[in-house]
């Protein structure tokens, strides 16, 4: 009986508990903890996401376009790596995009996308992104969502402290991670110290066209320049770079570059250097680097090899460059929206160090220097320190801001995002990531105007988070709601390649400008055929040019005869459609290249080698219409010297 009473009481308690949990779940649906997470990242069929996220593909070399909060993948924009799906780097028009001073490079390592800004606010015109391995900066149009420009960066290696834009996109910058001999020469590796240089590059951006021009390179001491951030607002006109390996070690850097208690944040007054250069300062030196531009009129890229670059020695511009001591090999270098705070995350440090721009100016004005390195004044750590976030986690990497006075820092070793308050440096919240987070992104979170609704953490390791796919498993992004005091994990979603860094922007700043198709009347491709009546096949020795058109649902011509063994056949194919979302594709049996995927109004070219006699088919590779399967044709290849005349037809006419 006692036992019965006991059970009765226990059951009541159980019921009470269940009521309690029921109550709390009702609160959850109003926006507190847990509960309705799925709803808050759910975008109903047919509805649009609130934000675009441009997520770097890391070692995939590309840039993927996601929607937030849904995490839906819309497109993978090929940037530094060839892409057979879109013929990028395969068709004759885009091969030049991947030209470098080393020749054609089919792969790249894309790292840091950054969206163009006006007055420190995202303007949604272009995305810039750097290639780490063969140093380059690319510009992607947010009208066509295609890569429209790639410029190589000379005197640079491991182009990592890149590609960030100033408040008005005056410059996009690139910085070397691996210092190298400048100019390159044969010399002993162990003579690194004092001889290698770290080039920091400033690329002027044309305010109308967006075209980049390498204005000048600052030849800094041979440290590793890891990350960079432009000054914002009050610090506009400055650029800040974290450095490590101020030891100038050339081997076993994991030990030898971790000797100094503090490395530096380099503060560079670029306006001062810009003025110096404008007045004839700096020295031209020979350099070889490619500048590749894609035209939406010719639908073709051109590559120009540049031959010199303007270099600036720090000692020649006194008062333009200073070193701010920062503990333990700082990685992330982030400036808050006001421009006052410069956050340096020492990746081996237990703390996050925050410098004050105001204090920095004051120390400079009063010439309070602790010493100098290669002629560059070093400020006193205490003089420029704004505050320290004490022991917030292990392995701090990157910080972004919500525009409400809060900062969010990732911690690689302890796998978490930590929210802390600017000014008081107190930790407000921490949330785990799954696992080993690198960068994080808040739309606009590195600008003067963050859109502080969501935070995306980008993880290097996922292990058990998804269905396994053999030894290689996906990397991931995680979406947090940051509108409340506490962060809430809403969603995690797989990414393409390594989600190294990302840039986010409200969709309404971009979507209305998205191009629907290319106007045929504007098509200036030298091999364009703008009317089906004008199709032709032209022989020039062993080279044959086919001027072809495509429209639902046929090619013109679709029968070609008179091709001979050994001919090199160029198919120049124009999509005559003038309708949204009606691309056509084409490929040919045995082609040693990719398909073409041709947008309405566009012309593209692939090469086919007529190696064997016979009759060889080609077809449309993109399911275009109800008669897509009928969209096919044949090429007859005759023996060399055959008297079969060159002719072409559609419907035998």
């Amino acid at each position: 009986m006692k036992l019965t009473k006991y059970l009765f009481a226990a059951a009541l308690a159980g019921a009470a508990l269940s009521f309690t949990s029921c109550d709390s779940s009702k609160k959850e649906s109003k926006g507190a903890l847990g509960g309705n997470l799925a709803e808050r990242s759910f975008v109903a069929p047919g509805e649009h996401d609130e934000f675009y996220a441009f997520v770097s593909g890391g070692f995939s070399g590309q840039l993927s376009v996601y929607g937030l909060p849904s995490g839906r993948l819309f497109k993978v924009i090929p940037v530094f790596s060839v892409d057979g799906e879109k013929a990028y780097g395969f068709n004759e028009e885009t091969k030049a995009m991947l030209n470098t001073s080393y020749g054609f490079v089919p792969w790249g390592d894309s790292h840091h996308p950054d969206i163009s800004q006006t007055d420190g606010v995202l303007d949604g015109r272009w995305v810039f992104i750097n290639e780490n391995n063969t140093p380059r900066i690319a510009r992607i149009s947010l009208e066509t969502f295609e890569t429209v420009e790639i410029i190589e960066i000379p005197n640079t290696a491991g182009n990592h402290s890149s590609a960030y834009v100033t408040d008005n996109t005056e410059y996009v910058i690139a910085g070397t991670r691996f210092s190298v001999p400048v100019p390159q020469r044969d010399m002993p590796i162990n003579e690194y110290k004092g001889n290698f240089k770290g080039a920091l590059s400033f690329l002027k951006v044309d305010p109308e066209s967006g075209e980049m021009d390498l204005s000048f390179q600052i030849m800094m001491p041979g440290f590793d320049y890891d990350k960079a951030h432009p000054g914002r607002g009050k610090s506009h006109g400055w650029f800040f770079y974290t450095t490590y390996n101020t030891e100038e070690a050339h081997t076993l850097l994991e030990v030898n570059a971790s000797q100094n208690d503090k490395d530096f944040i380099a503060a560079i007054n670029w306006k001062k250097i810009e003025e110096y250069v404008a007045n004839g300062g700096g020295k031209m030196m020979p350099a070889k680097y490619a500048h590749n531009i894609y035209s939406d009129e010719t639908h073709t890229a051109t590559s120009t090899m540049k031959t010199e670059v303007l270099t600036v020695e720090p000692k020649d511009v006194p008062g333009a460059i200073y070193f701010l001591p920062t503990p333990k090999s700082p990685h992330g270098c982030d400036v808050d929206p006001s421009g006052e705070y410069i956050v340096g995350s020492g990746k081996l440090s237990a703390n996050v160090t925050v410098h004050s721009f105001t204090k920095m100016l004051d120390a400079i004005e009063n010439e309070k220097f602790a010493g100098e390195a290669y002629g560059i004044p070093i400020l006193n750590f205490e003089d420029v320190l704004a505050g320290t976030v004490v022991q917030p986690g292990l392995g701090p990497l990157h910080t972004e801001f919500d525009g409400k006075g809060n900062a969010y820092t990732t911690f690689f070793i302890s796998s978490e995002v930590v929210k802390w308050k600017l000014g008081t440096w107190e930790v407000i919240d921490r949330k785990p990531t799954y696992y080993s987070v690198g960068h994080l992104m808040i739309p606009g979170g590195n600008s003067r105007k963050p859109f502080g609704k969501y935070l995306v953490a980008m993880n290097k390791i996922t292990k058990d988070r998804y269905l396994p796919t053999g030894p290689e498993v996906t990397q991931s992004a995680q979406l947090y709601d940051i509108t409340g005091d506490k962060m809430e994990l809403l969603l995690d979603f797989p990414t393409v390649g390594e989600p190294h860094y990302a840039a986010g922007i409200p969709a309404d700043l971009v979507a209305p400008n998205s191009k629907k198709y290319f106007k045929l009347e504007d098509n200036k491709h030298p091999y364009a055929t703008l009317n089906e009546k004008d199709v032709k096949v032209v022989r020039d020795g062993n080279t044959v040019h086919v001027y072809m058109t495509m429209i639902r649902s046929h090619f013109a011509p679709d029968n070609i005869e008179g091709i001979q063994e050994g001919d090199k056949v160029y198919f120049h194919v124009t999509n005559l459609e003038q309708d949204y979302d009606v691309p056509h594709g084409i490929s040919m049996i045995g082609a040693n290249t990719s398909e073409l995927l041709i947008m309405p109004g566009q012309t593209e070219t692939f090469v086919w080698n007529a190696n064997n006699q016979g009759v060889w088919p080609f077809y449309c590779t993109d399911f275009c219409s109800a008669l897509h399967q009928e969209m096919q044709g044949y090429v007859r290849v005759s023996p060399k010297g055959s008297d079969v005349p060159l002719k072409w037809s559609l419907d035998d006419e």
Partner: protein, 193 residues
């Protein structure tokens, strides 16, 4: 006895739990149905696109001579067919062509209960492929003078002088659209008895 009491209360607690759960599910269900039942029967016809070349539906809507046809298409809810990737050739009877039908025919067809008949009649005016006047002449020239319609009918194409007729209806003009051809005709295409 003790066991019974225990079970009862466990069951009670479970009910509470499940009630809780089910109410949540309902809430969620209601919310999602609110957003998903919004789906318009217009399908692709609801896409806003003022930049691309006009499609068959847009051309028809823009033509003052085809108000009856457009009203019929809308009554039959087949707008989405006319904006599809196609390619499609649509024979578009003018208002005058509809006027030639026995009095009351159009009014009767437009009644909701006759939507099936209306749809079939309209669908009979569409052929897969792109056939403008020149292409229709070529079909005749090449002996391919039977045009397959979307309703499984074959209509004869005939040429008299410069004029082209389909099933006896004269093709007055061809208009190229982004997703096919609109051929204006002076008769409603009805199956030959």
């Amino acid at each position: 006895m003790k066991t019974t009491i225990y079970s009862l209360f466990v069951a009670g607690a479970l009910i509470i739990f499940s009630a809780c759960t089910s109410s949540e599910t309902q809430e969620g269900g209601t919310e999602s149905s609110n957003v998903t039942t919004d789906n318009t029967p217009l399908g692709q016809a609801s896409v806003v696109d003022s930049e691309s070349d006009p499609n068959i539906l847009q051309v028809a809507i823009g033509s003052p001579d085809h108000t009856t046809l457009v009203a019929a298409v809308q009554a039959a809810h087949i707008e989405h067919i006319l904006v599809n990737a196609g390619p499609l050739t649509v024979f578009a009877p003018t208002n005058a062509a509809f006027d030639k039908l026995p009095e009351g025919t159009v009014e009767t067809l437009l009644k909701p209960e006759n939507v099936g008949d209306l749809t079939k009649i309209l669908t009979r005016h569409a052929a897969p492929g792109s056939y403008n006047i020149e292409a229709l002449k070529k079909e005749v020239r090449k002996g391919r003078n039977k045009l397959y319609m979307a309703t499984d009918d074959y209509f004869e194409i005939t040429v008299e002088g410069d004029d082209v007729y389909v099933n006896g209806a004269k093709v007055l003009a061809s208009i190229q659209t982004s997703n096919g051809i609109v051929n204006v005709v002076d008769e409603v295409l009805l199956p030959k008895e």
